[in-house]
């Protein structure tokens, strides 16, 4: 945790990428971490089955905001099914090691919101198999 707050984390915290609102998103979800009050909303535009644009908004700690910011960079061009399958490791890879167990929920909040957006949307589709 000592060295968790590296420059690139603080940079994402203070200058989050893809931050803001999409006027007409195809897919979106929002959640909060009731224990600390961190809040994140994720919006996607889907073009030809793949994520075209992505925006997040919210407030919270450096960990939740930086992780969400980095996540938005990762998912561009992915299919919703790919997003639904994203693992925690993807986030940990982005943010680097050294997250303490108590802060894991913060780091994963963006991922949880994004996946629930994708899965919710997928569930709404007619079953393809």
């Amino acid at each position: 945790m000592d060295d968790f707050y590296r420059d690139y984390i603080l940079d994402h915290y203070r200058h989050p990428r893809n931050f803001g609102e999409l006027a007409n998103a195809d897919v979106e979800a929002e959640d909060l971490n009731p224990l600390c009050g961190d809040q994140i909303r994720m919006q996607l535009k889907v073009d030809g089955g793949r994520v075209g644009e992505v925006r997040f908004s919210g407030k919270g700690c450096a960990i939740s905001q930086a992780a969400a910011s980095m996540l938005t960079e990762r998912v561009k061009g992915m299919t919703l099914a790919e997003i639904a399958k994203l693992s925690k490791d993807a986030v940990l890879e982005d943010v680097g090691i050294g997250i303490s167990p108590t802060r894991m929920k913060c780091a994963m909040l963006g991922l949880r919101v994004l996946k629930s957006a994708a899965i919710g949307e997928l569930a709404g589709w007619p079953d393809e198999e």
Binding site: P34, C36, S100, T102
Partner: protein, 414 residues
Amino acid sequence: MTVTAERRVERIAADFPILARPTSRGKRLVYLDSAATSQKPRAVIAALVDYYEQYNANIHRGVYEIAARATAEYEAARVKIARFIGADVSEVVWVRNTTEAINLVAYSWGNANLRAGDAILLTELEHHSDLVPWQLLAQRSGAELRFIPVDERGLYVLDDLDELLDGCKIVAAAHVSNTLGTILPLDTIVSRAHAAGAVVLVDGAQGAPHLPVDMKALDCDFYTFSGHKMLGPTGIGVLYGKRDLLEAMPPFFFGGDMIRKVEYAHSTFSDPPRKFEAGTSNIADAIAFGVAVDYLERVGMPWVREHERLLTAYALERLAPFERRGLEIYGARDPELISGVISFNLADVHAHDLASILDTEGVCVRAGHHCTMPLMDKMGWAATARASFYVYNTEADVDALCVGLEKAARVFGI
């Protein structure tokens, strides 16, 4: 008991510091009151000390190191309990004791589901804790209370079960009677109750400590038990509930740690099990209860049952000669049908006097109505003395009971 088995019990008994302490009269402590509360192994006591000396902190919201450890150990204890009873971790709600668990269901599930004209089915063996909450629910809702009868040996009479179940919304019954040791025919009760559309709450206060239990196999809807009766500390117990039932039930206590979002005017709540756990939990005791369950798993619940079965058989055999001198033993005499509980009276010696005299020999038994007053009235017993066994009891303990009975007979000139 074989020599190896006897050795094993002695090794277990050595884990319980209290059993090594003589009474004020210099007698060996012969603890035969585990149905009231069990003694605690060193590991459980040490878990409390470790918690308070090493990582005491409030849980779930703390960012710092000891808070993280406290949260992890507390939730790990829940996982242990879930595994011990074959449940999902989300189905394990921490409560103070069995009594709170049953009251919680009677209020939360009961108020939401019981209406005038419905019936609540209990048995004639119930402990006050599994009787009085339902009396009050019946009063509140207008539902009718019914009872599965027992015969003079305390064995269930199931002849009219289907009529009793007609219109019944919930059956609540003790897995094991604390007064007579009778084991509930759970398969029959659960399957027929479910067929009749009733849910089943099993009061496992004397079940979980003494019998192997598996929620998937038992298929009951609620199961309740107390840590203090199964090597754990006082102040912690568990309400098991099937997940869909817990989800549908309204929360009961409101406050910190069970909420999702609070505004001045209204609030939304967490998912089970947290939605039933308001305020600072009994963190230390939950963790220590987990350690108690570790201990029982290491000993092995099938072994516990077998040990108590053998000890009960031995006790019945050793007590038999006293019957010629006025000893009355209540309940079924068949160790297959009962758990390690024997209720008795000696001639005209009142149970309290008997217990007092046994106490002078270091022998601890309970005397009274055992929180089953209606059963006592039905049977016509003013009070009984009760010996109950657990993992640490030996044949020597039963022998000590017999020495005490001899003394009581002598004092009362029997």
